[in-house]
């Protein structure tokens, strides 16, 4: 099978390949949760509570006797969905503001002051404050995290826009008579894809961690919804006797976030020199 050149270059570092595989496994497990696991994640079996990993319960059970593997698999759906929505939202809004700030000189200062103000808060604190105001729900968590991460994306996109705006082909497009809107859409935006893609993978990773942290602190998703964070939160008091109840969800969080980060690193390394070459 002929491997496309771009994949060969991306996976030149083994660890990036490993990260991609891990991520793929996590996503597949989450998607095929009902096929892979035999248990209902919400089905309690108090008689079997806090039992260690065995052949029938691969990761053991939690304090209500629910199969941990099933909960992690299904929980993955929630955690990944929240993180993905956050990434999409932050990228969409961040790109919009960054693009406008970078391209239109007069809007640059006002937009960036707002961005600076928002970035002066530590992420988690801001997220906590927002969820506390809005109330715990999946939607509000996504909203809060989008608000937290949008400024980061805006800053990066603005920086890249400032560069791309001055490139010769943009001037050439103006010389042809192309309208400003079309220049933004057709000429500038596609050439921002590299930094945007890199940011997307990092935001995805941060969001996994952030959601876990928020849920752990009780200001995230309501505890009924099984995300990895709520699992750790709900089971933490039993950790002393039954380490696996926090170990496995925690491991899932770390594995996913780390894989995303490494993959993001790999994508960034791949795109940077190519960016210079193709430009």
């Amino acid at each position: 099978m002929k491997i496309p050149l771009i994949l060969k270059k991306l996976f030149r570092r083994r660890i990036v390949l490993g990260a991609a595989i891990c991520l793929l496994v996590v996503v597949l497990v989450a998607l095929l949760a009902n096929v892979i696991t035999g248990y209902d994640p919400n089905e309690t079996a108090v008689s079997q509570r806090l039992s260690a990993p065995t052949a029938s319960h691969l990761m053991g059970t939690d304090e209500l006797g629910r199969d941990l593997f099933a909960r992690i698999a299904f929980g993955g759906r929630y955690s990944l969905t929240i993180a993905a929505l956050t990434a999409i939202g932050a990228i969409a809004f961040g790109t919009l503001f960054g693009l406008v700030a970078g391209f239109f000189r007069r809007l640059d200062a006002p937009i960036m002051r707002v961005v600076d103000a928002m970035m002066s808060f530590p992420d988690i604190l801001l997220a906590i404050a927002l969820v506390a105001i809005l109330g715990p729900s999946m939607f509000n968590v996504v909203l809060a995290l989008v608000l937290v991460y949008t400024p980061r994306v805006a800053r990066v996109v603005r920086a890249s826009t400032l560069v791309v705006r001055e490139l010769l082909f943009v001037e050439a497009a103006r010389a042809v008579g192309v309208s400003t809107a079309r220049i933004l859409w057709r000429h500038i935006l596609p050439n921002l894809m590299s930094p945007i893609l890199v940011q997307a993978s990092f935001i995805f990773a941060y969001a996994i961690l952030a959601e876990a942290a928020l849920s752990f602190l009780g200001v995230g998703v309501p505890p009924e919804i099984p995300t990895w964070g709520t699992m750790v939160a709900g089971s933490q008091q039993y950790a002393h006797d039954a380490l696996w109840v926090v170990l496995f969800p925690g491991f899932a969080i770390i594995l996913t976030a780390l894989s995303l980060q490494l993959l993001g690193d790999g994508v960034r390394d791949l795109l940077d020199p190519r960016l210079k070459k193709s430009m």
Partner: protein
Amino acid sequence: MKPSLTSPDPLRLDVRNLSTFFDTDEGLIRSVADVSFSIRPGKTTALVGESGSGKSVTSLSLMRLLSRTDSTQVSGQALFTNRAGETLNLLALPEPAMRRIRGNEIAMIFQEPMTSLNPVFTVGEQIAESVRLHMGLDRAAALAHALRMLELVEIPAAAQRLHEYPHQLSGGMRQRVMIALAMACNPTLLIADEPTTALDVTIQAQILELMRRLQRETGMSILFITHNLGVVAHHADDVAVMYAGRIVEAAPVRALFASPQHPYTQGLLACLPAQQRKRELANGETRGKRRLYAIRGQVSSPLAPPPGCAFEPRCDHALAACKEAMPALESAGPQRVARCILVSEAAPLVTETA
């Protein structure tokens, strides 16, 4: 140019079968293949070529400045005769020995003076650094020497410039600083990689004049890498023309311009507007805007070289035999070589102008 049998002086640099290959994701790139040329003491040899010819990689290979990774393969010999008269193979020296030569016996100047100078050190400090390293002088003596170097390259107000940073100087001045840096330890060989390409024409003339004067005064040899044939015509003694990583022709400068042997050299000279003008004058024509002679096509990708002669796809004189094998570099007259099956000592190739 092989040394003539009657000449007793050793060559300053004798490059034999230099090859540099890069093993990349896309395949093996033969940047420099089987390159041989020589530089006489006190003379200037020009290495001429367009993009992809391998001329810059040649100089970096000689100076051993390519990154030492598994994917870079350098082979061949580069016999350098130093001040003391010893002949060393640059490609076989251990790194510490090579470091003693760089900046000391062999100096190099580059195309972009802005990026070749360290922006956070003053000009004087940078020159002094080289001097202290190779000549073992203390700080004060090194700075004094640096000042002398700046004066040598005719920088006005040298004492003031000594304490200035590169960004405070103009492009022409920075190139003079580069030359001062290169001359600081009185090198026997100066490698100049497109030193005037980024400069304005009037500044270029000054810099070339300066280099010529320094050569006269110190007797150093110069390897001048360029694509500008005008500069070659007036500032080189010997010329080696490169195409697709190989030397295709080498000759003394007057002979090369008077009767170029290789079709590529002929094409290169013929397509210059100045040559067009010369032809018109020679034919007694007034300025008619006759089309310029242009070599058709472009250089092949290094990943997909033609099976035989690299220039064959673009050559007006190509024969079927040219596709079969890469021609060898053979004698084409006194002190001349050419890589073309149509060229021989007895019957040099003559082109009809387009």
